[in-house]
């Protein structure tokens, strides 16, 4: 069953890529003013993306059957599922607005996120007692759906920014826009690197004392740039590459050294990829993307972004705060304990609340609103990746 499940995921992954190709083709028809053709190819793209989604749903259900619990209990499963909810949110918003451009930007983000999930160990893990509850499913699934829809808000905002920001001269705006694109390329870079290393079956193992003070071993699937704090290569791996540096001892997340090593590889491979693209295109990547969105009505995408937040914010609040509090009361005896993950969910909530007030009462539309959504999504990613890397809390999982 576990094997069937990973096949479904693989099929979904490649189907999304095919759907992306179809959505991209609509652009050339739009250029030639062939509206009906463009619409038709958009519809085909949508259908293929839906098939991909169903296939990923198949992955989700079969993995649930294999493990006996919803596959949302570790980093691999959660990030994969987040990719799935972003695709779902896109499908819903496509039905409302019928804009292929949304697909051209959302599908790559979904694909990158799903590819990035493969950086984490994909074994089906048993549930520790604290996670043995139906609230695991309710809390995590609702939160991920909320985050996925908020993610579409970010993507619509990004389309808006690429459309309106003046690329003819360097500015703060072009710098930050380029930073966003660079970050995404880092995620692509690490996914490719991990894929390459696993094709070569690379692995290197250290003896170390983990964050709980237990003597154990840790294996990397990538060459070690950075080793564990006071870690030693095991005997068999002594002549393998690295480590050049040591993980600082204040990084206390589960398997922090491996996560940090992966992070460094993502910067390295992402930078390389970025430089290659930049030299090939002889332009800022965000400037190279601008022609894709030339025909976009910025007003419309401002509205799409706002609408996504309006749909996503209540769902996120329900999942990440209210259901979270109910479960915390049952499992941890108190509904709120200032655990770092809880606090960052609260921060995300406060941030989007501030966004809504600025938009409704202070007239922050358009560009300001779009930049806020970039920050909002950065907060979600921070809580997902950095909090799990640096902090040992109740939400620690591999």
């Amino acid at each position: 069953m576990a094997e069937v499940s990973s096949n479904f995921l693989m099929v979904a992954f490649f189907t999304y890529i095919v759907a992306l190709v179809f959505f991209s083709l609509t652009l050339s028809f739009e250029k030639k003013k062939e509206v009906t053709k463009s619409k038709r190819w958009g519809r085909i793209g949508f259908t293929i993306a839906s098939v991909g989604f169903l296939s990923q749903l198949g992955y989700f259900i079969t993995r649930w059957m294999a493990g006996g619990h919803a596959p949302v209990s570790n980093m691999f499963e959660y990030i994969t599922f987040l990719g799935m909810t972003i695709i779902l949110a896109f499908l819903i918003l496509y039905l409302i607005y019928r804009k292929s451009v949304l697909g051209i930007f959302t599908l790559p983000v979904g694909i990158i996120i799903i590819a990035y999930a493969s950086v984490f160990p994909s074994d089906i893990s048993p549930l520790i007692p604290a996670l043995q509850s139906n609230w695991l499913h309710i809390h995590v699934i609702t939160t991920a759906v909320g985050q996925g829809i908020l993610g579409i808000g970010f993507i619509a905002g990004l389309i808006y920014l690429i459309r309106v920001i003046d690329q003819s001269k360097k500015s703060k705006q072009t710098f930050w826009l380029e930073t966003i694109i660079y970050t995404m390329i880092c995620a692509v870079g690490i996914a490719l690197t991990v894929w390459g290393a696993s094709a070569m079956n690379y692995s290197v193992t250290f003896d170390w004392v983990n964050e709980l003070g237990v003597e154990t071993q840790i294996s990397y699937e990538l060459p070690a740039i950075v080793g564990p704090h006071e870690g030693e290569l095991v005997h068999l791996d002594e002549d393998k590459f690295g480590p050049l540096l040591e993980t600082p001892s204040w990084m206390k997340g589960v398997d922090a050294p491996r996560k940090l090593n992966t992070f460094l590889w993502s910067i390295l491979s992402g930078s390389l990829l970025y430089v290659v693209l930049r030299l090939t295109l002889r332009n800022r990547l965000s400037a190279a993307l601008q022609p894709l969105v030339k025909s976009v009505n910025p007003h419309l995408f401002d509205e799409v972004s706002y609408r996504s937040i309006l749909i996503g914010f209540p769902i996120f609040t329900l999942g990440a705060l209210i259901f979270a509090m109910i479960w915390a009361q049952i499992a941890w005896t108190r509904f709120w304990g200032w655990d770092p993950k809880e606090v960052w969910a609260l921060i995300t909530f406060l941030f989007y609340a501030a966004y809504l007030h600025l938009r409704l009462s202070k007239g922050w539309h358009g560009e300001k609103s779009a930049w806020l959504l970039v920050i909002g999504f950065a907060l979600i990613m921070f809580n997902l990746l950095v909090v799990n890397l640096v902090v040992a809390g109740l939400h620690s999982y591999a």
Binding site: P126, Q132, H299, V343, I347, G363, K368
Partner: protein, 548 residues
């Protein structure tokens, strides 16, 4: 109070932007706008009308959305600071806390501790921020709700042409009498679930007004939640106790004033099978042990005599239950949670008495480590427990002492009286050592066996503030959904000299709204609405928009 009268005859209070009757711009700013700012229907609010007394100033301060957003942003930044280093509550309790931060995190850790950030979420200024947020929520809501409610309740069907032409969505159809298309368009509007009212040759269609109350409903929910949170400061509403219970032990549950007793049958810790087909890879990765269950099997009793001052407890069984993580035992608004455990705690020790010279074993005694007896007799021999240290250590003066009454590291001083010897012999025993102070003992005492026990740690909770939080949370979600998932749409149509004019306003989703109107307009041959804003105007709007 100064009143502003409009050409339509309606009088408006000071601070009004748009006339409450016909909608004509009254303030200079509104007059200059290309599209009108429709916030709160342009009605005057208390915060704009009064500026004199201290109360007015406080009111005006907290009613500002700008101030509200600043409070949110400061709260957000403060909260994030609290996650830089672990908070006090997540640090082991038996160490010097200031020293801990300095040792673990260096200079920054010391600074963090000195600034009080180690208890940030309980600091007076963090609580003050939460209080300011509550006040801001109350005042800002009251300041806006009533004028908005009155404006929408009393709105007129017939609006001034200037008001209509300055809406964002406008259509003008020349050379047409409205009465020709009126019935047809009403039919269209009603099909789309609009509520239509007419006044001569003017028409107002409206739907989803209740979504405008969403923000106020969710603010009420938040206020209830925050006030519920503040109730936690009164200890009567709140029980938070912890108990250790040993297998086989019956003890009174703390926090229940002796009303309830708990008996533990067994604490159970179960691990996942390392060779499990599905999970073996993940278990190996985790180092071979992953816990499957923590469980305490208990029987709950109620003491019938609990309200009498004396008398032994008269226990009546209420129920048996397996307490697990995620499955607390609930009774009489209390909940008992599985929180901690200790495996293999010493319960009793067996010792044998040996004559060292003859190697002859004289007999055995058993010492209960929680409730040890003083004297033990074996035939004619007497062993006296002169002193007992359940958790032995040598204190700073080098004298044997105990850290607690829990036998984690028991030590004993025995005195042996034998029929053969006049003088008694003293031995000192602790784990791993058998010390003879005089080095001349004939009889020695040796450890012969240990009896062990599991101990389960349970948290006892009772919380009367939860209903407030639940009600607050529910109201908040209702308001949030009400405001987010419905839209308020209004369409004004009226006859003008040259023809028919349509103006429309909504609080969100303009594109869908324009599509809806144009669908209807097409069917009755009215011009399509156009969106009067564009990006440049948007930018201008941002410039003056923030002047509140």
């Amino acid at each position: 109070m100064k009143l502003l009268s409009c050409s339509c005859g309606h009088t408006n209070p000071k601070g009004t932007e748009l006339c409450g009757g016909c909608g004509k711009p009254i303030s200079e700013q509104a007059n200059n706008e290309k599209t009108l700012n429709m916030r709160y229907e342009g009605a005057a609010r208390r915060s704009q009308a009064y500026h004199k007394s201290v109360v007015d100033r406080i009111w005006n301060f907290f009613s500002s959305v700008k101030v509200g957003v600043w409070i949110i942003v400061i709260l957000l930044i403060a909260s994030s600071i609290g996650t830089i280093f672990p908070q006090h509550m997540y640090i082991p309790t038996n160490i010097n806390i200031g020293q801990y931060y300095e040792n673990e995190f260096g200079f920054l850790g010391k600074l963090y501790y000195d600034l009080g950030f180690h208890n940030l979420y309980k600091s007076w200024w963090y609580l003050l921020l939460l209080a300011a947020l509550t006040v801001s929520l109350i005042i800002a809501s009251v300041d806006r709700f009533f004028p908005l409610y009155r404006s929408l309740k009393n709105q007129r069907v017939k609006k001034h042409v200037t008001f209509m032409k300055k809406q964002r969505l406008v259509s003008e159809t020349n050379n047409l009498k409205f009465n020709f298309v009126k019935n047809n368009i009403i039919k269209q509007l009603e099909e789309k679930k609009y509520k239509v009212t007419t006044d001569g040759d003017s028409l107002l269609a409206e739907k989803g007004r209740f979504s405008r109350w969403g923000p106020y409903v969710n603010h009420i929910g938040l206020i209830t939640f925050l006030l519920g949170g503040m109730l936690r400061f009164s200890p009567e509403l709140f029980v938070d106790e912890f108990m250790w219970i040993r297998d086989g032990e019956t003890s009174s549950i703390p926090g229940t004033n002796g009303e309830y007793y708990l008996e533990s049958d067994q604490f159970l810790l179960e691990l996942y099978d390392e060779d499990d087909e599905t999970f073996q890879n993940a278990i190996q990765r985790a180092g071979g042990t992953v816990v499957k269950t923590y469980q305490t099997s208990v029987t709950l009793y109620r003491n019938q005599n609990y309200d009498q001052l004396r008398g032994d407890p008269d226990l009546q069984e209420i129920k048996t239950y397996d307490i697990r993580v995620n499955e607390p035992l609930k009774f009489d608004r209390f909940a008992l949670y599985q929180l901690n455990y200790k495996l293999n705690e010493f319960k009793a020790m067996d010792f044998k008495l040996i004559n060292e010279e003859t190697e002859e074993e004289i007999g055995q005694i058993r010492v209960d480590l929680f409730n040890p007896e003083m004297n033990y007799e074996i035939n004619d021999y007497t062993i006296t427990l002169k002193d007992y240290f359940p958790d032995f250590y040598l204190n700073s003066e080098g004298v044997p002492s105990t850290k607690s009454s829990i036998p984690d590291n028991p030590a004993f001083i025995f005195e042996v009286n034998s029929p053969e010897k006049e003088e008694s012999e003293v031995s000192f025993l602790s784990i791993g050592s058998n010390f003879d102070p005089n080095e001349s003992n004939t009889y020695i005492i040796r450890l012969a066996g240990v009896d062990m026990n599991h101990v389960s740690g349970l948290t006892v909770r009772k919380d009367f503030t939860l209903p407030f939080l639940v009600v607050g949370g529910v109201i908040f979600m209702i308001g949030l959904v009400q405001g987010s998932y419905w839209t308020h749409r209004r369409i004004w149509i009226r006859q003008e000299a040259e023809g028919v004019i349509i103006a429309a306003h909504t609080n969100k989703n303009w594109f869908g709204f324009a599509r809806e109107i144009n669908g209807m307009a097409e069917k009755v041959n009215l011009s399509q609405v156009t969106d009067q804003t564009n990006i440049n105007e948007e930018k201008e709007r941002e410039k003056y928009g923030g002047s509140e």
